[in-house]
């Protein structure tokens, strides 16, 4: 038994090292002045460099703003489309439900390069390339399968029993939605919002192609720096990306669990 425990611990440790190593390397890269072959450790570490860069560099600030704008827009549009779809799929039986179920997953199955080059062509045709709506709708397309799946899995647990009861007791549809559906479906909604935020933040090709260079987000800006060998600046963008992804998600997580603990 002891032997087995040690083995398990080793696997855990290996996993932790493999996951954390890249994060650590990028963190060190962002605060080191020179770190070239064959030194194992940066010769010069400057802790203030990162923050000075963040405050003085207008490029990174505009990237941050572009990322946030697109992410918020994508989350809103995704939820607006995904919520009714998930409710329809989980509550009702209708003609073409099976087809809709398959259609929902298509953006995950069709290769990204095929979707995006065609989408770019269509956007140019309708004059939407480079517009906020164009980029947000491209991001939304990739968020929808995740959002609908997460909401659906949660909604199917209770179906519409409680909504029916609430309507029966005289609540308006809006009251029912905000006082019954959303509180019951909190976990699904949280998952859908988080996943849409992540998917939008990490998009590269969609933002670049359809954005026509108007939306240079953090992940888009990391690209040229990486190919040109400016690893330090790329790492600074990487750290910023981590901060703006992990902190909001962590806050949402705490907020939701905290709210859940309150007696109703």
């Amino acid at each position: 038994m002891a032997y087995k425990k040690v083995l398990k611990l080793l696997v855990y440790l290996l996993f932790a090292v493999l996951v954390l190593m890249p994060l650590f390397v990028i963190f060190m890269l962002a605060i080191s002045k020179t770190w070239n072959y064959p030194s194992l450790w940066p010769k010069w570490v400057d802790w203030g460099y990162y923050f000075r860069f963040l405050v003085t560099n207008t490029e990174i600030q505009s990237s941050l703003l572009a990322s946030m704008e697109l992410a918020v827009g994508t989350v809103v549009l995704t939820i607006l489309i995904a919520y009714p779809t998930a409710m329809a799929l989980s509550y009702y039986d209708f003609r073409g439900k099976k087809l809709l179920n398959i259609l929902v997953y298509l953006p995950m199955i069709i290769p990204g390069i095929a979707v995006l080059t065609n989408m770019d062509f269509i956007m140019i045709k309708y004059g939407l390339n480079g517009s906020f709506f164009g980029v947000v709708s491209a991001h939304t397309l990739f968020c929808l399968p995740y959002a609908i799946k997460l909401l659906y899995d949660n909604l199917i647990l209770w179906k519409d029993k409680y909504e029916v009861a609430s309507r029966n007791l005289g609540a308006t549809p809006l009251q029912t939605f905000f006082k019954v559906t959303i509180p019951l479906n909190k976990n699904g909604l949280q998952g859908a919002v988080m996943m849409s935020y992540i998917v939008s933040m990490t998009q590269y090709l969609g933002t670049l192609l359809i954005g026509d260079g108007n939306y240079i987000t953090l992940s888009v800006r990391m690209f040229p720096f990486t190919t040109e060998g400016k690893y330090r600046i790329a790492a600074v963008y990487g750290i910023t990306f981590m901060l703006v992804t992990l902190i909001p998600l962590y806050l949402i997580d705490i907020w939701v669990t905290h709210k859940g603990r309150k007696p109703a």
Binding site: K8, L9, V11, Y12, F15, A16, L18, V19, L20, M21, P22, L23, V25, I26, L29, N36, Y37, P38, S39, L40, L106, M108, I109, I110, P111, G112, I113, A114, V115, L116, T117, N118, D120, F121, I198, M201, T202, Y204, L205, S219, M222, F223, T226, T227, Y231, A234, A235, G238, F241, M242, T245, L246, L249
Partner: protein, 252 residues
Amino acid sequence: MGMEKLSLHYYTDALNDKVFLKIFFRTFVFALFSAGMACFMGTVLAFLFKRNDNPFTKPFFKLAQLPVMLPHIFIVLALIQLLSQTGLVSSLLTRIGIIHSYNSFPLLLNDQWQIGIILTYLWKEVPFVIVSLVLVLRQMDNRYRIVADNLGATKWQAFWNVSLPLLMPAIVNAFIINFSFNFGSYEVPYLLGNQTKEMLPVYIYDLYVQGDYTQLPMIMSLNLILSVFSIIFAGSVLWLSKHLPGGHTGGI
């Protein structure tokens, strides 16, 4: 513009194009292999993570969520710093004396065998598989396994005949998602790919960006071939998973 007739000759051209078919096949094998690896490793790790009695399980589950949240470019950057010929691992090996100079460190990025791309995808997708399976595993009814134990099944039998089939739908879903992503995503093959062993997304992107207007029907037909192929592939994987012995729909 001279494009007023309907014609299928772009499709037949594409299907007769040796270069396209070669790249297509290479990318398909690559996607199949990397997605399969990710699912296998993810499933094994998920079973280690599922027990709640272990004090390490919770922090490690949180850890597994990290790679899912970060973009591919992030891990690519770290891999370049770590595994390139003048990277940290190479420095370490030189320091210890295993290799004499960075020239003798094997080429792991931009190499012929797409090792860099596979490592990137594994780093992103193994945690993805873990996260999606652990959620299912925790909700899964433990009673089936207990019944199997009670009826005299060995641990291996209980895993193979009870737990795994119950988990199969989730594994198959994760496999299809990973496969489609690896098959059709552009950025990682562009950054870490080898020029002589081009991958399909890079090939199509280059055609799209460099090609002129007359090339468009050609690209659109390639895209459609790709899409139809992916849909058929996903459908047949789903069908297979339902009809192979031991791979039922979950039986719930």
